[in-house]
């Protein structure tokens, strides 16, 4: 389905809310995982031939999740259909498909919840919009729960804080448990377990890449900046999305991280075992997978004996690291159980654990330990795209909102020209790039292009008005998604890059000849 017919929607003269176009995205369905992919994760390989079996399994799993996740239960019960969220989703804005309105996406599950788990739904289903779980309903779940990027923009605006991401995760978890998984995400999770990272880069390839990087940096700067791998006793373990190892523009930020550690004189290492910060277990809402994937970082940290754990530029990985690692793996502080203490006594309590690379860089800048030649970034007029998981599901620094200020402070410290996008599209109100949460796959390109509309509109405004030619972001998925969709909107694909790409350009390494 990817091909010449995919077109970007026209920019809206005013950001009006689109009229409903029912079913407009019903055909946009991501590929279903095959049996091999499913079974590698311990899920059933395919839907049971007997619908009743699938039906019963799905309802049982739903009951299980309702008992394990308070959020899901409260969210199922609390929605009053007020409509506040209806115009907040970038996929709805870009597609007009009413099932991409957050409340309608939730109602795909809520209607089934009401039918099987509430009295009015059992006795008066049509009155309360309750529905039997049929194959058609399950297909709708698959289609539309894989048209959600779990960006949580709707949860910001809901008067009860109902988070569609949690509903989407539960929907995907149920789908996986009846043998109806998504190929893209589940294949990647398999790769993490088998090889160590999402992109399937084996250790030797990683080593080669990093050696090549050292040569490139040496050639460019004349300085021996090291990109170490599996160094025991290093102070910092850097865990970064595997896209940073070879994708453009991601690798430019990896170069930047290395330069920061070099200039500050901090010993650091990457790890073959933990060569992936991303955690697609979160996308599929599976606690066990999320935990298993996160445990690789714990094991690597214990083996290498590092004192600090730092995470590279990746949105959902930062959410997993910041909000979930302490719970899942004990990477953090304040643990009082043997499992957590084993690791936490090794980590240096003077630093936040884990820390974001932006927190590290900003601390060093404030301490005066990094020097920059800002004019080296003068060819760039820069804006910053807040990535959803960083903006609405995590923090940096000590104060709420640090996740917005710290990356901007870094940009302003390393470059002279900075322009902000329209206020209703930045900080916690930021729009998703259109590719997050497990939809960054080619067969969903139509959805991805349309979902990028609100961000592209805000960018277009300042590109025309202020000549902005660089959109910095701190997420591997944002970078990959924008690289792909920017051309559909008439922009250069190289307009997107990382914050540490800007750092890399301007930093003085201290030992230049």
């Amino acid at each position: 389905m990817a091909g010449p017919e995919i077109k970007a929607p026209a920019f809206r003269e005013f950001p009006t809310i689109p009229a409903l176009q029912p079913g407009s995205m019903a055909g946009s369905k991501s590929y279903v995982a095959n049996e091999k992919i499913q079974e590698a994760l311990g899920f059933p390989g395919k839907l049971d031939d007997d619908w009743q079996v699938t039906h019963d399994k799905a309802i049982a799993k739903m009951g299980d999740l309702l008992g394990k996740y308070r959020g899901l239960k409260v969210f199922m019960d609390s929605c009053v259909h007020c409509g506040a969220c209806t115009d907040k989703c970038h996929y709805f804005i870009g597609t007009g498909d009413p099932k991409n309105m957050p409340v309608a996406r939730q109602d795909l599950m809520r209607s089934v919840y009401r039918r099987y788990f509430t009295l009015p739904g059992k006795f008066f289903p049509s009155l309360v919009g309750a529905k039997d779980l049929t194959k058609e309903v399950l297909d709708d779940w698959y289609t539309y729960y894989w048209q959600c990027s779990e960006c949580r923009r709707c949860s910001l605006f809901c008067p009860y804080g109902i988070d569609t991401a949690e509903v989407t995760m539960a929907g995907r978890e149920i789908l996986d448990h009846v043998g109806y998984g998504q190929k893209y995400s589940n294949e990647i999770i398999g790769k993490v377990h088998r090889i160590g990272n999402n992109l399937g880069l084996p250790g030797p390839a990683l080593e080669n890449t990093l050696e090549g990087l050292e040569e490139d940096v040496k050639e460019e700067t004349g300085v021996d900046v090291k990109y170490p791998l599996d160094v025991h006793g290093a102070e910092v373990l850097l865990v970064t999305p595997s896209a940073d190892f070879f994708a453009e523009p991601h690798i430019e930020s990896l170069i930047g991280y290395g330069k920061v550690f070099h200039a500050a004189g901090i010993s650091w290492t990457l790890s073959t075992k933990a060569s992936e910060a991303g955690n697609f277990g979160m996308f599929i809402g599976n606690y066990d997978q999320m935990r298993k994937i996160a445990l690789r970082i714990r094991e690597a940290a214990l083996e290498l004996g590092v004192k600090r754990i730092v995470v590279g530029e990746c949105g959902h990985a930062w959410r997993a690291a910041y909000a979930f690692w302490n719970t899942l793996t004990g990477i953090g502080a304040g643990g009082n159980d043997p499992f957590a203490i084993e690791l936490q006594k090794q980590l240096d309590p003077n630093y936040k654990q884990p820390a974001h690379i932006c927190e590290v860089t900003w601390d060093l800048i404030q301490q005066g330990r990094l020097k920059f030649d800002k004019s080296l970034n003068d060819h760039r007029i820069i804006t910053f795209h807040d990535s959803c998981n960083v903006a609405r599901a995590s923090r940096m620094g000590d104060l709420p909102g640090g996740q917005f200020d710290i990356p901007r402070n870094i940009i302003k410290a390393v470059a002279n020209h900075y322009v902000e996008m329209e206020a209703s599209t930045i900080r916690e109100k930021t729009f998703c790039c259109g590719g997050g949460g497990g939809v960054l796959t080619d067969e969903l390109i139509d959805l991805r292009v349309k979902g990028a509309l609100p961000r592209m509109e805000a960018l277009k405004q300042i590109a025309d008005h202020d000549g902005v030619n660089f959109m910095a972001t701190i997420c591997a998925i944002c970078k990959a998604q924008f690289t792909k969709v920017l051309p559909y909107y008439g922009f250069n694909m190289r307009l997107v890059g990382g914050v540490h790409q800007l750092v890399s350009t301007a930093i003085k390494l201290g030992d230049e000849k």
Binding site: S78, R291, F324, R395
Partner: protein, 243 residues
């Protein structure tokens, strides 16, 4: 003593029991269900005091709704605050002597009845006029508004058009509270008003009205943002650490 008196006496005992038992069951269910992961919508307060303040703003001012949609906020807030004052005003039917603050708010409670009705009418109009909200509305969404509007309308009717013997109404309810049946005035407006109120009490714990206790248990709003400082772990998840 009319048959209606006995009917409403039994109805209110039953409705009160269902409301209390239903709400206790649901609240206990919300409270018992673990929240295994920290998922506050950030930026979020980092302390419990901050969370209390955030929750206060949500409950008293509808902060998130205000940021989201001014029309829904205006109608919704008007309705809820109106309802709150009207409920407070009705405390005079259940207290003897009437508490001073209840006596003091009586004049305001009167206007609140109109605010409540206007808010409900605005919310209902949106269900017809706004395509997106029309799409998501179920019959029960309309019926709930009809129910509340019916309560407001019959209440205002009795205040301004067809008066009823409110002294007798009060003695009926004070009687119920002492398990004594006192005669209820024969008045069709009053019958409809009371029947609708009892219906509202009955459906409260099994309908979307659960948003009222629900907000207090919503993890995106009631969790402090401190995952790096304290280890947050649910009992079922803690078991995995030993494996």
């Amino acid at each position: 003593m009319t048959a209606a008196t006995y009917f409403f006496a039994i109805l209110f005992y039953a409705a009160s029991a269902l409301l209390v038992v239903g709400l206790i069951y649901k609240i206990a269910d919300f409270a018992r269900t673990p929240a295994p992961l920290l998922i506050p919508t950030t930026p979020a307060p980092t302390t419990t005091a901050g969370v209390v303040f955030r929750m206060f703003r949500e409950v008293a001012l509808f902060e998130s709704l205000f940021k989201s949609n001014l029309w829904i906020w205006a109608f919704g807030w008007m309705f809820h605050m109106g309802l709150l004052l009207v409920l407070a005003r009705h405390l005079r039917y259940f207290t003897e002597p009437v508490w001073t603050w209840v006596a003091l708010i009586q004049p305001f409670g009167l206007y609140a009845g109109f605010a409540m009705g206007a808010g409900l009418a605005g919310l209902w109009a949106r269900r017809f006029l706004v395509e997106r909200i029309r799409y998501i509305s179920t019959p029960s969404d309309h019926l709930m508004l009809a129910l509340l509007l019916g309560i407001a309308a019959t209440g205002l009717l009795m205040k301004f058009v067809m008066h009823t013997d409110i002294v007798a109404v009060k003695s009926f309810f004070l009687g119920l509270m002492r398990f004594e049946i006192q005669p209820l005035p024969e008045h069709p407006g009053l019958y409809i008003h009371l029947a609708l109120v009892a219906l509202l009490m009955i459906v409260f714990p099994i309908s979307k009205l659960l948003h009222a206790p629900g907000i207090f248990f919503s993890p995106t709003r009631n969790q402090a943002d401190n995952p790096r400082e304290a280890r947050h772990i649910a009992a079922w998840a803690a078991e995995l650490d030993g494996k």
